[in-house]
Symmetry: C2
């Protein structure tokens, strides 16, 4: 069993990006520039945005964070987005989600210039991804594709069973893995809350992506020997430690890992990969 | 075994649309208006465009056809598209595909105002469809969804195996049928040329969509009793008759039909449904 190590892999990607940035700066070109808008004072969102800022600094990107009050109007937010859309120094623009309830999230996503939409949430980018055209791929699916690629996991002709049909993980991944590409060319089955015979399906799978958000859902008797397991779950469950909780994946690791050929740990797997997509997309948006 | 009758169903939909158009005209509002651009003189394309024009007249739509020479430049075509984009009388705009080789098809598709893209090919519409947002759904997937809906075929929790991953049939259908919707909520498996154990998968299927373009591919021993079969194939094969050919589906009808609960004939099934999507989308684009 080989651990798909999100920490080492993301560090490796950051190193590669840092080198690219150094090279373009040496050539006298501008640093890639990521702008982030944060509305309100949700603790988790602040942490995410701060981490993104830190990682940008680490790889040599310029970053700008605009913090707006919780009661900001949608119109004010859209104005701010327009300003960044028009600012030619800004390559990538993200609006941290979720937004306060009085703001229409979809309208905000669609207001971002698709060419700067490094989160890959704009319908144009989703559509291009689905059609197999160049696009910005969103964080989690892209992180998983990177892991599969860097660990040289054979995907062509393999049966991949994806549990969970969310717009940010299961659905884009089903589209990516069924494309004529590397990684790709999988036979893909997408399962969800209405699926009746899930165990029958997972037992057939060469690759399983668990992305339903139910701790320990995938058990040892649901997988065959040699399976590749990608665990996207990351749920806080009560634990007898200092913080009072631990992070639990959708996979019952102790049962599944012994049967797996490759498996992502939680934490330390997919979660750590999500930042790399943002960096890669911003680099791409800057024209490199 | 019940035949999913594309002829009767599409006639029924046309009748419903005709009534809606009559009603809005009675209210003094303008008729829905579809514009079509045809470049070159491909025989099949001319037939398709003429049929679309005829059907528009039949349901009371206004239609405009612009015929451009085979050697039209891409720039001239884009100009024509811009003109229709800006013409507020035109609700829906289609450019008949394929285009001559010197014209970039994707660029042309993306030049159409997504609000008038009644073929549903623009990445924005594809993206919205995938995300489950209101959009224009393209002809064949929409026609299949209509058949499933009008024949009240239970899809929730059913395992649908789709053979073929094309951007115009298999892929959009996989996305539509896996959505939380009616029809929908299927467990969906998407198969293609790299799939190894196709028979093993089709034998598990409650619903099979054959969209690979290989006459007679799906045989009797590949399906279970009671299966619902949608045959998207429509290939000309040599035949000993006046025209010298007949239209063959991807399903070996004589073997599969006796085992099926519902099945589409070829011809007379899915093919006849494709026009209805164009009409429905144009009606929607006109604000009805």
């Amino acid at each position: 069993m080989i651990l798909l190590d999100g920490r080492t892999t993301s560090e490796q990607i950051k190193k590669e990006i840092t080198e690219k940035v150094e090279e373009i700066v040496r050539q006298g070109r501008k640093r890639p520039h990521l702008a982030a808008i944060l509305v309100g004072d949700d603790g988790a969102s602040q942490t995410y945005v701060n981490n993104k800022e830190k990682t940008c600094a680490q790889v040599g990107f310029k970053s700008t964070i605009v913090r707006m009050a919780e009661n900001t109007t949608e119109e004010r937010l859209l104005e701010e987005i327009r300003r960044f859309n028009e600012d030619s120094d800004v390559d990538g623009l993200i609006v941290q989600l979720p937004l306060p309830k009085h703001i229409d999230e979809q309208r905000v996503i669609e207001a971002i210039d698709p060419r700067k939409d490094v989160d890959g949430f704009h319908p144009v980018n989703v559509g291009k991804m689905v059609l197999g055209l160049p696009s910005y791929i969103s964080a989690t699916p892209d992180g998983i594709m990177e892991l599969l690629e860097r660990y040289k996991i054979e995907t062509s002709g393999k049966h991949c069973v994806i549990i969970g049909r969310s717009n940010i993980v299961g659905r884009p991944l089903a589209n990516l893995l069924s494309h004529k590409s590397i990684p790709g060319d999988c036979t893909v089955t997408i399962c969800h809350s209405h699926t009746k015979n899930i165990k029958e399906l997972t037992l057939q799978a060469d690759i399983i992506v668990a992305a339903l958000g139910r701790p320990g859902f995938l058990k040892g008797d649901m997988v065959k020997d040699g399976v590749v397991v990608i665990d996207v779950g990351i749920t806080r469950v009560p634990a007898d430690n200092k913080s009072g909780f631990r992070l639990a994946g959708d996979v019952l690791f102790e049962e599944v890992a012994p049967k797996a050929s490759y498996i992502t740990p939680v934490p330390g797997g997919v979660g750590l990969m999500t930042i790399t997509s943002l960096l890669k997309n911003t680099l791409k948006a800057s024209g490199i």
